[in-house]
């Protein structure tokens, strides 16, 4: 009984997606769904396989991932640094926080015309868009995380002789980490959204370029491969973030005994 229930629970989440795909395939084959709107799943799989064989797919995914990671490193790194600064030093907060809060209210995508004027349409424009988008979630959550570290723990550590870097390492950073990781997860979601937009506006390579190119030639199957790739990469980024949480927040009762 129990084994059956377990197996059912393993299979159950996949029932709906499988039914959708089966229905989609049937609708395409019966001609009810035009290939111009949605190609049949088999054709998408075929397109995926062809792109993989030609090496195009790997190339574009590598390029896009590279951009995403570089943008995250720049924007996230700066966000973390400034967040630590304003969270730790009152002076830094007074000087920087109001400015940053104002900039935060500008949607990054509204900057696209400016970005094109500043950077043209080459790599740095895409990096800039991704970086500015991922900056704020990490900045805000880092500042918040540092400020919300239990003051009682800091007082205790001080009375045990901890000051400066040891205090930071033992108490403040670990205390702020849950919040910083929440920021990272938000950023990872935004990272792909911004990259998709940047790549569809202007690119000579990457997944966005691949799909825009396919659109010109009405290759809906390739467009769909691109959409699925974004979904997969987004899911992958989320898994990485969860893995980090499980690794670094082991002590937290909310993560204790959570299986992988």
């Amino acid at each position: 009984m129990r084994a059956n229930a377990g197996r059912l629970r393993g299979v159950a989440p996949w029932i709906v997606p499988l039914l959708v795909i089966a229905g989609w395939e049937a609708a395409s084959r019966s001609g009810w769904l035009s290939t111009r709107i949605l190609p049949e799943p088999v054709a998408v799989a075929q397109a995926f396989w062809n792109l993989l064989k030609s090496g195009e797919l790997v190339h574009d995914v590598a390029i896009s991932t590279g951009r995403a990671v570089a943008g995250l490193a720049i924007g996230g790194g700066l966000g973390l640094l400034l967040g630590l600064l304003t969270g730790t030093f009152k002076t830094a907060e007074t000087l920087l926080d109001t400015t940053l809060q104002m900039v935060r209210n500008v949607p990054p995508l509204a900057l696209i015309p400016l970005v094109i004027l500043w950077f043209g349409i080459d790599e740095s424009a895409k990096l800039f868009l991704v970086a500015i988008g991922v900056f704020f979630p990490i900045y805000l959550n880092t500042t918040h995380g540092i400020k919300s570290v239990d003051a009682g723990l800091i007082e205790m550590a001080r009375s045990y002789g901890l000051e400066g870097w040891p205090l930071y390492r033992e108490v403040i950073l670990p205390g702020a980490l849950p919040s910083i990781l929440v920021g990272l997860r938000f950023s990872l979601g935004l990272m792909w959204v911004l990259l998709i937009v940047a790549e569809t506006i202007s690119a000579q390579s990457g997944i966005g370029y691949m799909t825009m190119n396919a659109r010109e030639f009405l290759q809906t199957d390739v467009v769909l491969v691109g959409v699925l790739l974004y979904a997969l990469l987004g899911k992958l980024a989320d898994l990485v973030a969860r893995g980090l949480e499980r690794r670094f927040l082991r002590w937290n009762p909310a993560y204790l005994g959570v299986s992988a």
Partner: protein, 258 residues
């Protein structure tokens, strides 16, 4: 099994407060406190909440600075003796992201830190929980870890800020016995702030009452240790101090003690 550090030199730290005062803005919390605590003595400070007893302890710990007067520990101003002073708070204040053992090691950087931390954990009866996260411990166990964390530094003055206030009655009595036994073994000076008069009488050589920022009662406790809560002498003293805390006429004390 026990290592050298377990038997520290028998040197509690004497405490002398001279004209000690503390104001927060307009409000005077402590006013002109004079107090002498001899080395190795166990002093309990009782009083209603908000009377300034916790502030007094925080001044001793160096967590607050005095508005007037001075705290002298041993023969030096308190700042010089900070490494000899450890404090236990009402909450255990363990770092949730460090294991029990790592928590006890906090602030130790000698090469034998781990061995010393393990010994201190054994001292409080938690040797087998060294690798657990604090979140899986009970309230009483967390306070025992906090006690081990204080003991590992071989304090000469241990300050206890209502550390048993949040524990259930049975765990409380266990903890009182544990604190008494480590105090007898290590011979440090102890200052316990508590709102529980019975706890003060059970543990202390001397009970102080703080009212409106002043010490208004200084009562020696001459009962033999270990003390039995039920004994007539214990009950009489407890009743007398309690009546004084509650500001009742002397006649009430006998009724309360009965």
């Amino acid at each position: 099994m026990q290592r050298d550090w377990i038997t520290p030199p028998a040197t509690g730290l004497g405490v002398r407060l001279a004209g000690l005062g503390k104001r927060f803005g307009e409000r005077t919390v402590l006013d002109d406190i004079e107090l002498d605590v001899s080395p190795g003595q166990f002093v309990a400070i009782v009083g209603r909440s908000g009377c300034g007893k916790s502030t007094l302890l925080r001044l001793l710990a160096g967590l607050e600075t005095a508005s007037s007067g001075e705290v002298r520990l041993g023969d030096a101003p308190s700042a010089a003796a900070r490494d000899d002073v450890r404090i236990m708070f009402q909450e255990a204040r363990l770092l949730p992201w460090r294991t029990v053992l790592q928590n006890v090691k906090l602030g130790l950087d000698s090469t034998d830190a781990t061995a010393r931390a393990r010994d201190a954990l054994a001292q409080v009866g938690l040797a087998d929980r060294a690798d657990d996260w604090p979140s899986v411990l009970s309230g009483g166990q967390r306070q025992r870890v906090a006690l081990a964390r204080a003991l590992v530094h071989r304090p000469r003055l241990l300050l206890l800020d209502e550390p048993l206030g949040a524990l259930d009655a049975l765990t409380r009595i266990e903890m009182q016995r544990l604190i008494e036994s480590v105090w007898r073994e290590f011979r440090f000076t102890a200052v316990l702030v508590t709102h529980d008069v019975a706890e003060a009488v059970a543990l202390a050589d001397r009970v102080l009452l703080v009212e409106d920022g002043r010490i208004t009662l200084d009562e020696p406790v001459a009962l033999a240790r270990p003390r039995a809560h039920g004994s007539p002498a214990f009950a009489e003293l407890e009743g007398r101090v309690l009546a004084r805390v509650l500001n009742e006429p002397p006649g009430e004390a006998d009724r309360l003690a009965a």
